[in-house]
Subunit: 339 residues, 2 copies
C-alpha cells in the first residue's frame, strides 16, 4: 500500500462534465500540499485541460467507459468494468489510493464499492450518510437514499456505523442514536421499525435514545438518526424544499395568508437570502458536500450528479478528512465489539 | 337523516382537556349561525363549562370512556364503545350529524371510522390527507401517517381520492398527481412504488404527472402528492423541523458557518418571526388545521392531540367546509368511474 496520501477521482461521471472536475482537482492540490490525486477518465482530455499545470502529484488513468445515470447497478457492474467509476474504486481496492470520489450514479457506485472493496465484517450493505445542521452542531443521517428498503438488522448495523462515525470522525463521545419513526410511542410505526427498536435497545454498546420524528433531525435530541433510504431521502429533500419555499416567499411574494410585503419585508428578504441559502446548502450533503458510503473497506464519497466545481471540491475535502482521520480503520477496530 | 347541518365533537380526547374544546365549540356557533353541534363527553362537565351559554343549537351526549393515546386501535375498537370518540363517530353513522371532529388517537379514530362508517366503494382504507403550502397555493399530501405501509393498489386508491378531493373541494380542475419517490428516473425506488407508478399511469381518468421528490411538495409541479404514511409523516415533520431551525437561528444564533449576527440580523429576526411561524403552522395540517380521513362514508376530521382552542376551531372549520361542499357525496359520485 502506498504510504503517501492519495485520492482517486472519477472525472467523467455526473452532469457537469470533466472540466469542472479537473479544476476542482487542481484546487484540491493547492489546498492540500502533501496530497496526490489519481484522475480517472479520458486521458487525452484530462491532459489537455491540465495543460502546463500537470504536476507529478497527479497520475492519470485511462478509462474507456462512463457509467450513466440510467445504467442499472447490476448492468454497470457487469458491463462497465472499464468505466471511470470502476477504475477509480479499483484504485482504492488495489491500495493505490485511500479514497475515491465520484459524482455518478449512486446505485452503481454502491454496487462497485461492494464488489471491489467489500463491506466491513458484520456489515451487509454500506449506508449513504451525511451531516445535517442541528441546534447542537450537526446530526448524522443514514441512510440518505442508497438503501431503499432495509431489514431491522441492517438498521441496527447502520446505527452502529453511524455511532462510530460520529465518535471517530466528528469526535462526539457516546453519541445518542435515534430511530426515525412516525411517533415516539412504543406502538407506533411498522413492525420492522419496532423490531429494529428492540435490537438497538438491546445493544449495550449503543447510546440508544429511542424513536425520533422528522423534526428531531434539526433539534439536538440525538446525534445520529437511522432510517430506511426512502424516508431518509424524503426527509432531506422536503426540508430543502421547505427552506427554498420560505426563500422564494421572502424574495418577492408573501407567505400563505395576507401579510403585504412592505419595505421591511423587502429588506428582510435581502438580508435573509444568504442565511437561508446557506441552510439549504447544508441540508443536502449529497448535493453540496458529498455523502459517504459508510461500511466499506475503503473511503468512497458520493458527490451529486449536478455538483459544480465548488461542490465537487467539497466532496473531495470530505474524502481528505476521512483519510487524514484514518476513519475506516478506526471504525473497523471498534466494529466487532459493537455488533 | 337530519336536514340541518350538524357536527359532532369529541370533547374528551387529546391532551388539552375538555375546556378548550368547549370554548372552540362556542366560537364555532358564533362563526356559523345555522350550524348545530353535538358535544360528546362527560355531560355534567360540559354543562358546567357551558353554563348560561348553553343553547338549543347544542346537544350534549354522555360518554363514559375516553380513548387514550396509548390505546391500541384494535383494543379501543373492542373495549371503548362508550368513549367520546366512538359516540362522536356513531352520530355520523346514525345520520344525526354530517361530520365529526376528534383530537384523539389517530389509529383508534381510523379504526372506528372504518367500523362505524365503512369506506366508500372500492376503497380499502381511508387516507389521512391535508394541504401543505406551495408556490401555486397548496399541494394535497396523502397519506400523512395513518397508513404506515400501503400496497401499490392502495396508493392508486389514494391517488384517485386525492385527485377527487382537489377537484371537488379545492376546485382545481384536472389536478396533476405525483407519486413520491427518491428520484424521478423510472428505475428508482422500491418495487411497490414502481408498481404503483404503472397503475397510476394506466388510469386514463387521472392526470398522472410521474414520480416527484420531497422538494416538489412545496413547488408547483403537482397538485396532489401520494405516498405511504411513513414518508408522508416524515416529510411534514422534517419540513416543520427545518423551518423551526431557521426560526431559531434567526432569533439569536447564526446559521452554520460564520455570519455574525449584527443589528441587521436582529431586525431581520424580528420581522421574519411571524412569517416563519405562519409557514410552520401551515406545514402540519394534523396539528394546526385538522387533517381529513378521506375515503369514509362520512366526514371525519382529525385535530392534533395537543391542539389548543384555535387549532381545534380550525379543525371544526375544516369539517364545516366539507359538509357545506357536500364533499363525501360528490367524491362518491365520481369514484366508480375513476377506479
Amino acid at each position: 500500500m502506498s504510504q503517501r496520501k492519495t485520492i482517486a477521482l472519477d472525472i467523467m461521471s455526473g452532469d457537469c462534465g470533466p472540466h469542472s472536475r479537473i479544476r476542482a482537482a487542481q484546487e484540491t492540490l493547492k489546498l492540500h500540499p502533501g496530497l496526490h490525486l489519481i484522475l480517472v477518465g479520458e486521458a487525452h482530455l484530462i491532459r489537455e485541460v491540465l495543460g502546463a499545470a500537470e504536476t507529478d502529484r497527479i497520475t492519470i488513468i485511462q478509462a474507456e467507459q462512463v457509467v450513466t445515470m440510467d445504467d442499472r447497478p447490476s448492468q454497470a457492474l457487469r458491463r462497465k468494468q472499464d468505466s471511470s467509476m470502476w477504475r477509480a474504486v479499483e484504485q482504492v481496492a488495489m491500495g493505490m489510493s485511500q479514497a475515491c470520489v465520484s459524482a455518478g450514479n449512486t446505485g452503481a457506485l454502491m454496487a462497485m464499492g461492494r464488489h471491489l472493496l467489500k463491506t466491513l465484517p458484520g456489515i451487509d450493505r454500506p449506508a449513504l450518510v451525511g451531516p445535517v445542521p442541528s441546534a447542537s452542531g450537526q446530526t448524522l443521517l443514514l441512510d440518505l437514499g442508497a438503501n431503499i428498503d432495509c431489514s431491522a438488522e441492517q438498521l441496527h448495523q447502520f446505527a452502529v456505523l453511524g455511532s462510530l462515525m460520529m465518535s471517530e470522525v466528528y469526535e462526539v463521545s457516546c453519541p445518542r442514536v435515534g430511530l426515525l419513526n412516525v411517533g415516539e410511542e412504543e406502538a407506533k410505526g411498522s413492525e420492522k421499525v419496532r423490531l429494529a427498536q428492540q435490537l438497538l435497545g438491546d445493544n449495550d454498546e449503543l447510546n440508544y435514545f429511542g424513536f425520533v420524528e422528522g423534526d428531531d433531525l434539526f433539534s439536538c435530541a440525538v446525534d445520529v438518526v437511522v432510517c430506511d433510504g426512502f424516508p431518509g431521502n424524503v426527509a432531506l429533500k422536503s426540508s430543502e424544499g421547505a427552506a427554498r419555499y420560505v426563500m422564494r416567499q421572502l424574495q418577492g411574494k408573501q407567505l400563505q395568508g395576507d401579510l403585504k410585503l412592505n419595505l421591511w419585508h423587502r429588506m428582510l428578504a435581502w438580508v435573509a437570502r444568504p442565511l437561508l441559502r446557506r441552510f439549504v446548502e447544508s441540508l443536502d450533503p449529497g448535493r453540496f458536500n458529498g455523502a459517504t458510503l459508510l461500511g466499506l473497506q475503503g473511503v468512497v464519497v458520493k458527490s451529486h450528479g449536478s455538483a459544480d466545481e465548488q461542490q465537487f471540491l467539497a466532496a473531495i475535502n470530505q474524502a481528505v478528512r476521512a483519510v487524514e482521520q484514518n476513519a475506516v480503520h478506526r471504525i473497523n477496530d471498534r466494529l466487532e465489539s459493537m455488533l
